[in-house]
Symmetry: C2
Subunit: 340 residues, 2 copies
């Protein structure tokens, strides 16, 4: 077997023109049944597969979507990637993936070189000039940035934080701590705002430690917490990883969770329910988020191909977070010496 067969080879083997082969493959009902048969045989005989570059060039589409995320190794993204890829594959689109922190020029090219028909953006921290410079259908997922002209999909992080705070309030906690996400991140900021507002509404004493979404940030926050003169009886962490880091460090320091401190995480990663203690957390429906983003971007891409022009303006979509109560939260211990 020599080089790849081209459409020309199929055509001459079948004794028809390339136009007919093309038609037989892409819209079979426009060619005669006998011809179609001949073509299909020739395709099989030559092992012909379409050359995507040639087709994409002619049709000015790429049949591919691009996912941009700030850190591909973040376990939070895995399920989202999988869901997007599944939806995309179902409609014949391939998926490209790239770290969104690869440098301005490379990034601009990615959205501009005709290899992607649409972009799912999981990073709200990219220069808006770059993002708005792309002339492609774009969906913001999970994170967002008000300056991007693109619809947003994700949960309401303020409301989600309120779920956590209300749960702790209901358990009887009066003095609570938040280990926040990184300061420049919208998700962290909104969760913190939701935390503070909800705590105020419930008349609770609220403290915030600036943190990050990482295990290490949680561990560090735990050390600060432990050093406090009067320690809050409950902690709401900006991510599950942060929460697990917090718990881990607390336990190592001799504290018990939840009797010394209740901990609520955020995300509901796979390990959350197997951790010891199993983690109470706010679930983000990551697979749903991925599916919704994929559906939206596909709709935009196809809509654009079909000529409707206002598909890009479809509105923001909210998905529902849920409070998952497990074993890392409980009622606060009575203060030593306090009345029963």
């Amino acid at each position: 077997m020599r080089a790849r067969a081209r459409i020309k080879d199929v055509a001459s083997l079948a004794g028809v023109s390339t136009a007919t082969v093309s038609r037989a493959l892409s819209s079979p009902d426009t060619v005669g049944p006998a011809t179609r048969e001949k073509v299909m045989e020739a395709v099989k005989a030559t092992g012909y597969r379409i050359n995507a570059a040639a087709r994409d060039l002619r049709q000015r589409r790429a049949r591919s979507i691009l996912i941009l995320a700030p850190d591909l190794s973040n376990t939070f993204f895995g399920k989202i990637f999988a869901a997007i890829q599944e939806e995309a594959s179902d409609v014949g689109l391939t998926v490209q993936i790239s770290d969104s922190r690869i440098g301005r020029d490379r990034l601009l090219s990615l959205g501009y070189d005709g290899r992607a028909d649409g972009i799912v953006l999981l990073d709200g921290g990219i220069d808006p000039e770059v993002v708005n410079g792309w002339k492609l259908p774009l969906v913001q997922l999970s994170e967002w940035n008000d300056e991007y002209r693109a619809p947003r999909l994700g949960i309401d992080n303020r409301a989600a934080a309120r779920l956590a705070v209300d749960h702790l309030a209901d358990l009887g906690h009066r003095d609570i701590l938040h280990v926040s996400g990184p300061g420049e991140n919208v998700l962290g900021v909104e969760r913190q705002e939701g935390f503070l507002m909800a705590a105020a509404d419930r008349g609770m004493t609220a403290t915030v430690f600036p943190g990050a979404f990482t295990l290490e940030a949680g561990a560090q926050a735990a050390r600060h917490w432990a050093a406090l003169a009067t320690r809050p009886t409950a902690v709401f962490c900006a991510s599950d990883e942060c929460a697990l880091g917090f718990i881990s460090e607390c336990v190592h320091a001799g504290f018990d969770v939840p009797s010394d401190v209740s901990v609520v995480g955020f995300d509901d990663i796979d390990f959350a329910d197997r951790f010891l203690p199993a983690l109470t957390t706010i679930r983000q429906p990551r697979a749903d988020m991925g599916r919704a983003a994929a559906a939206r971007i596909i709709q935009m891409v196809e809509g654009r191909a079909a000529g409707s022009d206002n598909v890009d303006a479809l509105p923001t979509e909210r998905l529902e977070p849920a409070l998952i109560i497990r074993s890392s939260t409980g009622t606060p211990k009575r203060k030593p010496g306090a009345p029963a």
Copy 2:
């Protein structure tokens, strides 16, 4: 601003031919300095970006590599994806990603439609006919299959299992259990073989529970273990997830790790050192694996482009696993009633 600028637009604005623009961009030193300047200005003025489909068609390369993995959401792959993407991006290649279980025909197309120059394959379970049917540079990473005609990169799983067994033997365990990977998976098979051989060499009693790489498989194995009349004092699990599931279930059933049972995992995922107890495990250098695979596939792709023909035949490469000792393993409890 209208539609995207094409090379023709740049050429006429700069007052040169398209050939000159092309040369000014791809090999600047072959055009005169004044011309180069004019072209660059025209590029800036028009906002021109190359159309990748056209370039790829003409050059018969895609400047893209494809990663195929059996489950994109598996946390094990994240670091690998990130490492590959980083290396690829450095040399101007984009990365496509797909689940490798998307159906034979789609899969065949992926390696055949000219959109990828090379493939990194993380799945040893694909029909060899499909894999060998691709006429592309190919690297097997982590998993492999002897019938694929492609170099392999990964650790020696038998030797890795031996590290775990030796560690347990050194601690004084005499009766050990292995919760294996899924039966059809080479990684699971080799780890099991390594386990059995090492246990035999050390004169230990060895049992195997068929399992999987999942949390749930570990939990289930723990229930079986707990039900045993004489329980092995140590367990080697085929993955960290499995190990965490095992520990979690044991603790819930009232056992203590490591005093009732020592547990060794495999992979060293990020959570391993924050779990309670911190998990003793075999580290797979995932970032190194990704980097090595990327380097290899890039070498093959460039080599092929440069005309050398035997790059595909480069040999298998072994990376070193390491035993990471943490808190989930310890000396076995003396049997009740046994002499001190």
